[in-house]
Amino acid sequence: MGLTRRQALAQAMALTAGAVTLTTLGVGPASAGVAEAQARIAEFTGGRQPESGRITLTVPDIVENGSSVPVSVSVSSAMTGDDMVEAVLIVAEENPSPPVATLHFTSLSGAAAASLRMRLARTQDVVAVARMTDGSVYLDRRHVRVTVGGCAG
């Protein structure tokens, strides 16, 4: 027999302590959210590596109430001929369900810009990814501090 009762108890306590630390830091659920967010982005980009530039994501630095957070995206594009934005994906990395919205633009849009309001469960990064009609992708990321989360109500 390898373990004495004392050793077994000590190990169990160490494991519990570890689990508690993870939960308090929010590491467990948060990283799961980031992984899901990354998967959603990869699906949207078709696996292409996003470049920076062209897309601008505008969000407040700090919000008091996460239940209605203004978010604007704008992509510099002529929106005619070959220079067109097809879609923009907005993702809140650490929400219980990260995707926020997918915006679809056409040649009648005139400008690839839109604003809406989203829910943020906690302080986190918000990511916007633009996919052009030629398949190239651009990404912008902004950090938002939330003092009261918004997904429960």
Partner: protein, 108 residues
Amino acid sequence: MATPKPRVKVPEQANAGEVITIRTLINHDMESGQRISADGSPVPRRIINRFVCEFNGQTVFACDLEPAVAANPYFEFNARVAESGTFRFTWIDDDGSVYSSEQRIEVH
């Protein structure tokens, strides 16, 4: 929940080829499906999952909404207008309901 009533703001007139700004709002709880009710059971998800704006039958702007869109979804976006016509706005609810609104614009 009160019956969703769309509200849209489109300029009454514009110059041909001008890029105009459109704003829309609809009252809707956007129940995320994440909440737990008082008796401990989850509140079922019910959101508006799609919004479309068309001009004379052609799509101008569309959005797929997820539960992380705030209650009473608001949109601000642009449209390039070449001729007079009618904007049609459509919101699609998880329960299959469709809410819509129309607005005419005169282009000079």
